[in-house]
Symmetry: C2
Subunit: 462 residues, 2 copies
């Protein structure tokens, strides 16, 4: 007869159920074995008949045992391997990535200025309004008030005329890129800039059949390269190329649009990832604002302008693609929490976003000026050319003394400094063949850290 010690807090029927189930799973009670009668087991274990009945009916309902009328309960034949005793799970720990004392990363955001109190106030306000709207799904394209606020922002700051109906909100640029590939077709040939943001290449590679490199010159993506490679959809960063900093001039913009117009179903994905942080002059108008044939999809996120943890991006779908979007992708739920969307909508609508961007821009500008000046007045100026651009959050440091990229990186690492080689931004095996050139971001470092980092680089490179 079964023996079981009732030792934990769970109801008796559940403990009995678990016990018998384990015996069957592990093969100790074999297929076809008869179970004790309810009455006998209840007497044996000194528990009520109802308890045994409950356990047996659960086991029967879940197919562990079956009853033969007038005879009793029998264990089922469970095909397949038995669970048996599982060994405890051990996850091998990966070696942690090396941490550097001075890391000139390019993807850091200065979080000191984040307006926590405003965000908390809006958050409270919206939660206390507490309607069902907060809890039910919104349109697959996002909450309408947020899309209105974004459309308004784009009109004022990027010269883009878009209706809220064209705006699709989603959980970050990577997610939206995946969505775009579904919209335009996985079988298309996608082009990404070489060099460029390596993650962009990875996202496209994970989502579509063929990804090819787009060559660059001093004006950005080359139309000839688009043709040579047979690109059908081009991912471009015309406002500010990463990492070279090129701003695509108007003539080239028109050439690129002409390329798109020259064949059916050619599209441009305009990634405007850091357009909010141009430091002088007026931001270049978006390519989307020049497009008159529905061929440019505009893509941006709040990663740089608010926080990377926010995971809110958006795209402007050209009018001519809206029906296709609704038909192919209309079934998807929006991937951003409604609550977050409502807060952000109010944040933009009430002007907080604009004020925040403006404070951030000043902060980055002064840090950039400090960084450039500190480099120029350091002894590094003897061996380096500092190439800064009008936007972005990093500088290019180009060797004038014959040090190769590898040497620059290795020597810096020996002094516990991390800078980034231009070669790291090549995804297709292309090679940067100019003089050694590294990239140094400054957005996540204080002026003190920048100064100390420069001193360490002097020790490394001189």
């Amino acid at each position: 007869m079964l023996t079981i010690s009732f030792h934990d807090q769970k109801p008796l029927y559940e403990q009995l159920y678990n016990h018998i189930r384990n015996e069957i799973e592990s093969g100790k009670i074999g297929p076809g074995d008869k179970l004790p009668s309810k009455r006998a087991l209840s007497a044996h274990l000194k528990i009520s008949v109802v308890t045994v009945e409950t356990a047996y009916s659960l086991l029967a309902a879940e197919g562990y045992i079956y009853s033969v009328p007038g005879s009793g309960y029998y264990a089922e034949r469970l095909s397949g391997p038995f669970r048996g005793e599982k060994s405890p799970i051990v996850i091998p720990q990966k070696p942690a990535e090396r941490e550097y004392r001075y890391d000139f990363r390019t993807n850091q955001v200065d979080t000191e200025l984040f307006p926590f109190s405003v965000w908390a106030r809006l958050s409270r306000e919206i939660l206390s309004s507490g309607g069902a709207e907060l809890l039910q799904t919104c349109s697959g394209k996002g909450v309408y008030s947020l899309r209105q606020a974004i459309a308004e922002h784009l009109r004022s700051f990027r010269g883009i005329e878009a209706q809220p109906e064209q705006i699709v909100v989603g959980a970050g640029g990577e997610y939206l890129t995946g969505l775009l590939v579904q919209l335009l077709g996985r079988d298309k040939i996608y082009g990404v800039e070489e060099p460029g943001y390596v993650k962009t290449h990875r996202v496209f590679s994970a989502n579509c059949h063929k990804v090819v490199p787009i060559g660059l010159d001093g004006s950005g993506a080359k139309p000839a390269s688009l043709l040579e490679q047979g690109v059908q959809v081009a991912h471009l960063t015309p406002s500010h190329h990463f990492p070279l900093g090129t701003v695509m001039p108007a003539t080239r913009r028109h050439e690129i649009l002409s390329w798109a117009y020259d064949a059916e179903d050619r599209y441009i994905i305009e990634d405007d990832y850091d357009s909010d942080f141009r430091f002088s002059g007026k931001p270049v108008p978006a390519l989307q604002s020049l497009d008159c044939a529905n061929r440019v999809v505009y893509l941006n996120t709040f990663t740089k302008s608010l926080a990377p943890s926010m995971r809110i991006g958006y795209m402007v779908v050209p009018l001519g693609l809206l029906d296709r979007f609704d038909e192919k992708l209309g079934f998807y739920a929006c991937t951003v929490p409604v609550f977050e969307q409502l807060i952000l909508a109010e944040f933009i609508r009430r002007g907080h976003f604009e004020r925040h961007i403006s404070r951030m821009r000043k902060r980055y500008l002064s840090r950039r000026d400090f960084f450039i000046k500190a480099l120029e007045t350091s002894r590094l100026s003897e061996i380096l050319e500092v190439k800064s651009t009008n936007a972005g959050m990093h500088l290019l440091l180009r060797s004038r003394c014959g040090l190769s990229e590898r040497e620059l990186l290795d020597r810096a690492a020996a002094e516990d400094v991390r800078v980034y080689g231009l070669s790291e931004y090549y995804s297709f095996g292309g090679v940067y063949d100019g003089p050694g050139c590294v990239i140094a971001g400054y957005s996540g470092m204080s002026t003190q850290q920048l100064a100390q980092g420069i001193a360490a680089l002097e020790r490394a490179w001189l």
Copy 2:
């Protein structure tokens, strides 16, 4: 000479820049046309020379004009179509979907019990801690504390032993499904239950090459069908099939696992979408908890248990797939805002989630009992068989009087009632050939609405 009226609030240089840019874009200033000298234009427009200089240098930087030393500025040749005057954007309005007076939808969540005050308190607490952690990206798999809380919950409530390292948090089940397809391979043959949740079929179709139907019998998915269709990855709902309500018994679970073990690289995606709302007995142990060969990926969301607007889902990746996950998908950023993840982690950790689920379960149970009793005591009982299951948020109503599904639906619609035909859950052109059967959800309706809805159905069907 240019004429321009400075009428808005923007800086003069910017207004001038915009004006000239528009003239060039629209072709009014042609390619090669000479622009007025800075001095002349400044005198003409009665603005300072510096203002004109600023506008010209912006235009030159962006490639609209070029300077010929000693001669002056000329308009560039912009290839491609000119922007010209855009006509105002008009988005055609889609006809709104018909709204019904009584809509027995199955995807509604009762939001009345949502613990707004607890959520607001946690939210305040976390925002006021205000660290940089809130703003920086987390691991691609999600915030560790949330993954710990989920692992703990799964251990206590679903018999699943999983390490936080195996848990991947993402923006909802649809997103995670897309990720899984990338993990297991787009070229695999994916099987989905027929009938089943139609959106599941759409998500797979949008993400992989071949999706096939899995046939069902009274125990759920048929192993024979998996073989016939050549399925390599099976999406299943063993705890509670939607919409039929079948709970897969233990024997069938073992057969299904055997199927997976019988060949390399066969996997099961266990969608446990409403396991928190089983109304009697103990929840069936998850298929994942029986798997001893790394072939089951467990998938769940907080859509039913918290709110559809939340967009937080998670999956348990089997140990054997972790390296492949890191290698193929490790570069993706997590799609859920860090802030939301931290709140949810605390919500679970402090027991609020368990209490909330338990309140919701009671609420749904009493509403379900009311609904069943009201149907049974109504005159509808003469012509309908009410099929209820141990879980889920809907009932199946099967005609015993020869009315077809079409007739049931049309007559209901004529009384302004929406119920759902079983045929709507077939994605592969399969046809339900039993007696007319409709599905009626009750989770979003009050008892009063349910009673009135039943009265309307009496008018419709009797």
